[in-house]
């Protein structure tokens, strides 16, 4: 059953200097449905594809509100995400209690990255099987971070995680230079276009499978958002006006140049390690 000699314990390095369990955890992130994040000078947005296990089932929650100024989208094990997001909520609340200050987004992301790192080093633990895109706003404006089970966290202009996220990344890399000065509507449209790239052949984005998370002032499609522009999750019918703004794939500029989506790893295959 073992696929590698040095993978039964995450505290043991392989002779190549790698921690196989940690890399498997990163694979767990890639099994989750995709999430996309983008940032402009005024807004940060998240877009995520919700999966359902069948016609009779509801869709899995992909976004969590952490505080008025922070929210996350997840890819991977939802149960691990709940534990981590609860921890983030506690951190946010403790900052409010002790300093009466909304927690700076970078501190929040570092705090979970540090937690994840412990799991890559201590005996008897396993890494988290979930990755986050974190958006938030603080004194230094809107932010977008990626958090991964390896204990790394980076800030991005635009990023995607989860299944087939490479296709979304290709789209984002092509367009990211225009994001900084984008309106919120354009930013969301780019996000939807990027998210669309992660879909399987016959699937489409619709009001049921699309979640949008926003921080920053209200969009023309939104109602009753306080002026501070706190984090909010747009779902169901409220997504429709945003979906309407999408440009059909054949006519979308440059969409044709996007390479076919990378094959998602299936359960039976051996995991391919990067270089």
């Amino acid at each position: 059953m073992f696929r590698n000699t040095y993978d039964s314990d995450n505290t043991v390095f392989s002779p190549q200097g790698r921690l196989h369990q940690v890399e498997y955890a990163l694979e767990a992130v890639k099994q989750g449905s995709a999430a996309v994040g983008l940032r402009s000078k005024t807004h940060s947005v998240l877009l995520a594809l919700k999966r359902s296990t069948g016609e009779l089932a509801s869709y899995q929650q992909k976004m969590f509100r952490i505080d008025d100024h922070v929210g996350i989208a997840i890819a991977g094990l939802t149960s691990d995400a709940r534990v981590l997001s609860n921890f983030m909520r506690q951190q946010a609340m403790s900052s409010k209690m002790v300093f009466n200050r909304p927690i700076p987004v970078n501190r929040l992301v570092s705090s979970i990255a540090d937690k994840a790192q412990v799991n890559t080093q201590e005996y008897g633990r396993r890494p988290y099987g979930v990755g986050f895109l974190v958006i938030g706003q603080d004194n230094s404006g809107p932010h977008l971070y990626e958090f991964s089970p390896s204990g790394n966290s980076y800030e991005y202009y635009a990023m995607s995680i989860g299944a087939r996220s490479q296709s979304a990344k290709t789209y984002l890399e092509k367009h990211y230079e225009s994001f900084a000065d984008s309106s919120l509507e354009d930013l969301v449209r780019h996000g939807l276009h990027a998210l669309r790239e992660t879909l399987q052949q016959d699937k489409e984005l619709n009001v049921n499978n699309t979640s949008i998370g926003i921080v920053g002032p209200a969009s023309v499609h939104e109602k009753a958002v306080p002026p501070a522009g706190p984090f909010r999750i747009v779902e169901n019918e409220a997504v429709e006006p945003f979906l309407q703004t999408m440009i059909a794939k054949d006519t979308a500029t440059g969409a044709g140049a996007v390479p076919p989506a990378a094959a998602a790893a299936t359960g039976d295959e051996d995991v391919q390690m990067a270089g």
Partner: protein, 249 residues
């Protein structure tokens, strides 16, 4: 006479004066407090709010030991935040009232030295006032005054809201609920009266008005100077705050 060693122990409480008041209408609730904070004969500050917006349908007024009051409001807000995380909506006011009871009673043997009055709108759209003692006994009422000038204000409210010691003119009856403009006048009169007769009341008055969804009582707020809206959700209930000066002597 033998002298015994004196044990002088630290007193963790003080009393910071001021008065709070809330009145429920048919589809609105008014929650008010003065902003003076004092200790003994000293005015510590002329502006320390005692009335706090919790949600778009609930406002909490705290009076007594200010440090306990501020901490209590912080802790209630934390619990409401967890409720929001779990249920993606604001806690209804009757649930907040029960929450406050359990939080107060949890400290039965080292109480928060605070009198709480919670005002707002119930899920059925009626105006509500809940009043508490420091260890959590509570009831829903139509009006309540608490704090330094409770003994001055409550009898006035009993007379003007409950019509105690009044008899209606022949063939008429007293109204069940008073209109918003009448209630606002009563609140202002209560505080100007209390300011005259109680040294711990004064400086300025903050009145929060919570209106039910599409409440026609909004009419009464049209021409009020300096009114400020504090609503933050699209749930339908609306919150306003009105500030008035009181005498500063």
């Amino acid at each position: 006479m033998t002298q015994r060693p004196q044990q002088h122990s630290f007193n963790p409480y003080t009393e910071n004066g001021g008065t709070i008041l809330a009145i429920a209408g048919a589809d609105f609730s008014v929650i008010a407090g003065d902003t003076r904070q004092s200790e003994g004969y000293s005015i510590q500050t002329r502006y320390a709010p005692k009335v706090f917006r919790l949600t778009d349908k609930a406002v909490l007024a705290v009076n007594g030991f200010a440090a306990d009051g501020n901490m209590f409001v912080k802790k209630v807000r934390q619990r409401l935040e967890w409720y929001r995380h779990a249920h993606s909506k604001d806690m209804p006011i009757r649930a907040i009232a029960r929450l406050i009871q359990t939080m107060l009673y949890a400290r039965r043997f080292f109480p928060y030295y605070v009198y709480n009055i919670l005002g707002g709108i119930e899920e059925d759209g009626t105006g509500a006032v809940y009043s508490f003692d420091p260890v959590g006994s509570y009831e829903r009422e139509a009006c309540r005054a608490a704090g330094a000038a409770q003994s001055l204000v409550q009898p006035f409210l009993d007379n003007q809201i409950y019509f105690k010691n009044q008899t209606p003119a022949p063939g008429t009856s007293f109204p069940q609920h008073l209109p918003l403009n009448t209630v606002l006048s009563l609140v202002i009169d209560s505080f100007t009266g209390a300011t005259e007769r109680h040294i711990e009341v004064g400086d300025s008055l903050e009145m929060y008005v919570v209106l039910a969804k599409e409440s026609p009582s909004i009419q009464a707020l049209q021409n009020i100077s300096g009114i400020q809206e504090k609503t933050s959700t699209a749930d339908g209930e609306r919150i306003f705050v009105i500030r008035r000066d009181l005498k500063k002597d």
